[in-house]
Each structure stands twice: as structure tokens, then as C-alpha cells.
């Protein structure tokens, strides 16, 4: 599904990603852990085609992302701690805008579906600026899944969420997991991060220092393994 070869990203003189190779099969749930400034978000931005790598190649469904960028973006959804929502527009207007940009078919019904999924049916005509942080993040989830993406990238999505919003996000993720969608999750939260994960990556100083299956790990092992790897690589 996603394959990156020799991924390098340099910003100014600083090398943020240092030759990352990764192969994520379709339907896999990958969780990425790493200390602040390790390059996790840059890796996500590069894989999600938000920014271009300085060196290296990315393939989605065996297609070179340098040649098919616009059509491949149709397969990608992103949830970040930023919501990408326009505060002066209503929830419906935001979803209509993104739906039109993604050429979503039967948009009215699709909006109704995703809004119900995140429990915002009664606030759909309210301006986003009147929403709480949790409600905005729920709407951001609706925005990200509106076009039914094959790959969902999540960059610390649990930041600032109330328990209700965490529950909704986990429900959406488990539904995507059941549908065998590819999920790439960056988080600092070991508990939430490992819950649905098939595979765990540790990124330290722009390199993958650990890449292992979820089966062999228990929550406590993961924490100590993470600390070992981070210390070892620092």
C-alpha cells in the first residue's frame, strides 16, 4: 500500500528524516512513537504528500507519488491536532467545501452519515467557532473520513480530547480497522496507541530504530523497550 525508499527531508541545514525505508501493507494499523523533535510529524507529512521529500521515493498502491500526486491524494485522509476547519463557516459548510474538493458522490447523505458517526447531528448548522475543542476534533474526524480514504494518517489525534471524543475517535479507528483500511498513527499515548495496532515503529533522530509486530509486545514491555531504544539512539 505505502512504500518509502531512502526518505530524506532536510529543512535548512537540518536533516529531519535520514534515509527512512518503510513498507506498509494494505490494511495494516501502524503506530509510531518517538520523542519530541524526532521527525515523526515530518515523516507523516511526507508520506501524506503534504510536503515533498528532499530525497527518496514514495509509492502508494505501487504508483509513484511524484507522478500521480493529485489522484493519490484522493486516497489519503489526515487527522492532526490542527483541525483544518474554517471557524467562520458552519460544520455543514466545512464538510460541503471539502466534499466538493474531494468530489464526494451523494455528498448530502455522506455528510449526514459522517456527522452522525461523530455525534454532531444537532450542531451541523452551527459555526465551528462556537464548538468546543472536543467538538472541533470530532468534526475534524468527520472531515478526514468524508471521502472514505484508503489510508488514514493521524498525528497526535488524542491531544486535548475529552473522554467522549476519545471514545468516538477509537470507534472510528476500530471501524476502519474492520474495513481493512491502512492507518498510520503518531502518538505519545502508549495505551491508546497500542490498542488496535498491528505494528509499532520507534522514530528517533530521523531514523526508524525499532520496527516490530504488536503481538510480541505488552504495554509495559513497550514502555521499557521504547525507553531503551530512545536512550540507545540518542
Amino acid at each position: 500500500m505505502i512504500r518509502a525508499v531512502g526518505l530524506t527531508k532536510t529543512i535548512g541545514r537540518k536533516e529531519i528524516l535520514r534515509g527512512i525505508d518503510i513498507d506498509i501493507p494494505s490494511g495494516q494499523f501502524v503506530t509510531v512513537f518517538g520523542p519530541n523533535g524526532a521527525g515523526k510529524s515530518t515523516l507523516l507529512k511526507t508520506l501524506a504528500l503534504i510536503s515533498r521529500p528532499t530525497k527518496g521515493e514514495i509509492f502508494i498502491d505501487s504508483m509513484d507519488t511524484r507522478k500521480n500526486t493529485d489522484s493519490l491524494r484522493q486516497k489519503i485522509g489526515v487527522i492532526s491536532h490542527n483541525t483544518f476547519l474554517y471557524e467562520n463557516l458552519t460544520a455543514r459548510e466545512n464538510l460541503e467545501f471539502y466534499g466538493r474538493m474531494y468530489r464526494v458522490k451523494d455528498l448530502k447523505n455522506r455528510i449526514f452519515d459522517v456527522v452522525s458517526q461523530v455525534g454532531l447531528d444537532f450542531s451541523i448548522n452551527d459555526p465551528v467557532r462556537t464548538f468546543s475543542r472536543g467538538m472541533q476534533q470530532r468534526l475534524a474526524i468527520a472531515r478526514a473520513i468524508l471521502h472514505d480514504p484508503a489510508v488514514l494518517y493521524l498525528d497526535e489525534p488524542y491531544t486535548g480530547l475529552d473522554p467522549h471524543a476519545i471514545q468516538i475517535l477509537n470507534d472510528v479507528l476500530s471501524q476502519l480497522n474492520l474495513q481493512k483500511r491502512t492507518v498510520f498513527l503518531i502518538t505519545h499515548n502508549f495505551e491508546e496507541g497500542i490498542m488496535m495496532s498491528d505494528r509499532v515503529l520507534f522514530v528517533v533522530r530521523g531514523k526508524i530504530v525499532y520496527d516490530g509486530g504488536r503481538d510480541a509486545l505488552e504495554k509495559n514491555d513497550l514502555r521499557s523497550l521504547y525507553l531503551d531504544k530512545v536512550k540507545g539512539a540518542a
Binding site: 503534504i50 493529485d70 489526515v78 492532526s80 483544518f84 471557524e87 463557516l89 459548510e93 467545501f97 466538493r100
Partner: protein, 226 residues
């Protein structure tokens, strides 16, 4: 076809957000009106010299008001990192550029529709009816050229720390041909000069517009990647 749908979606989104808050248009209009008032106090409207400086005053007012709008056009996309949401959309990068350009063009045109008659009234300047079509053409081309460059440079400068200061600094030197062409063509039209005199300026404006509609088409992807 999808290109037009994308452009229309961006324009409608921008206009809906603007007409709900009126933050941008009201500040542009207030600024334009204040500029006219300053000119009224600075120049005696009864003096004959007004006929010579009138086109320059009009364009100074249009351009300064336009800069206010251009400055906000990409800065507003930074709230909640909406610009990343736009970048993620499966459309050619030029769709984003042309969408923002169209919205900016509409704002500036609204300001022009309000301020030009106000200029004429306050300076007691009678615009000959037969000059109106040519004047509309020059204003259209001048506004298009200025907003085309402005939208491109606004995207470029939006990541800078002092983007609101940086934009005018890089915008004015680049738009000298547009401002010069627009002012000269407007002056020739209002003075009732022969068509050939202002047509050459219109050609310059048209050529500049063409260049600045094509250049961002090629370079906008790199601007958004910065």
C-alpha cells in the same frame, strides 16, 4: 471540469466566510474612503491640477486597499492550519491559486465599485460616459494584474514572520508595470486622448496579466511546499 469545480468551491468558501464576518471588506472599504478623504484635504478639488493627478490618486487608493485584502488571503488559511487541508485536496495546485485569486479579485472590485463614484463626487470630476467602457477594461486589467501578482506573493510571504510588512515590500516593485500601465491608460482615457494612445498601455497590461497568470500556474506548487 473538476478544476472549475475546485476553483468555485474555494471562491464560495472564501466569500461565505467573508460575508459572514465582513472583516476584510469593511477594513478595505474604510481604508479606501479614508484615503479619499485625505486626498480631498491634501488637494483642493476646485483646482485644475486635479485633472492631472486624479488617475494616480484613484490607483493609489485601489492598490493600497487591495494590499490589505491580499495580506489576509493566506494568513487566514493559517488558522487551524487550513492551508494544509487545502494542500491535501486532490486538485492541481493551480486550483488553489486561481480560487484565491478570484476571491481577491472580487473583494478589490467591490472596493473599486464603491470608491470610484465617491472619488468622482468628492472631486467634482465628471467621467465622460463614452469613456466608461474603456475605463472598465483598464480597471479590469489593472486589478487582475495586481491581484494575480499579489495572490502569488501573499502565498509566498505568508510563512514569513512579518508577512504583513513583507508583502508590500516585495509586491510594489514587481507591480510597477501594472501600476504605470493602469495610471497612464486611465489618464489617457479620461483626457479624451486618441484610442491609439491608451491602447498601447492596455497591451502592456494585457501582456503582464498573461505572464502573471501563467507563472503561478507553474510555480505555485513550489510556493505551497515551502
Amino acid at each position: 471540469m473538476h478544476m472549475l469545480t475546485g476553483i468555485r468551491a474555494i471562491v464560495q468558501k472564501d466569500l461565505a466566510a467573508e460575508f459572514r464576518t465582513r472583516e476584510l471588506l469593511s477594513s478595505m472599504l474604510v481604508f479606501a474612503v479614508l484615503t479619499i478623504i485625505v486626498f480631498v484635504f491634501a488637494f483642493d478639488p476646485t483646482k485644475a491640477v486635479i485633472r492631472q493627478v486624479f488617475p494616480g490618486m484613484v490607483w493609489v487608493c485601489f492598490i493600497f486597499a487591495a494590499v490589505l485584502g491580499l495580506n489576509r488571503s493566506f494568513v487566514s488559511e493559517k488558522t487551524n492550519d487550513c492551508i494544509t487541508g487545502l494542500i491535501l485536496c486532490p486538485v492541481d495546485r493551480s486550483v488553489i491559486y486561481f480560487g484565491k485569486l478570484t476571491a481577491n479579485f472580487i473583494y478589490v472590485t467591490i472596493v473599486e465599485i464603491v470608491t470610484l463614484p465617491l472619488f468622482a463626487v468628492l472631486f467634482n470630476y465628471k467621467i465622460p460616459l463614452q469613456a466608461v467602457p474603456a475605463l472598465v477594461l483598464v480597471i479590469f486589467l489593472g486589478t487582475l494584474g495586481f491581484t494575480a501578482v499579489g495572490t502569488f506573493l501573499a502565498a509566498l510571504s505568508s510563512n514569513a514572520r512579518s508577512s504583513e510588512v513583507l508583502l508590500p515590500v516585495i509586491l510594489f516593485p514587481v507591480t510597477v508595470p501594472v501600476v504605470l500601465g493602469a495610471v497612464q491608460a486611465t489618464a489617457a482615457i479620461l483626457s479624451g486622448a486618441l484610442t491609439a494612445e491608451w491602447v498601447s498601455w492596455v497591451k502592456i497590461l494585457g501582456a503582464f496579466d498573461a505572464v502573471f497568470l501563467v507563472v503561478p500556474f507553474v510555480l505555485f506548487e513550489y510556493v505551497l511546499d515551502m
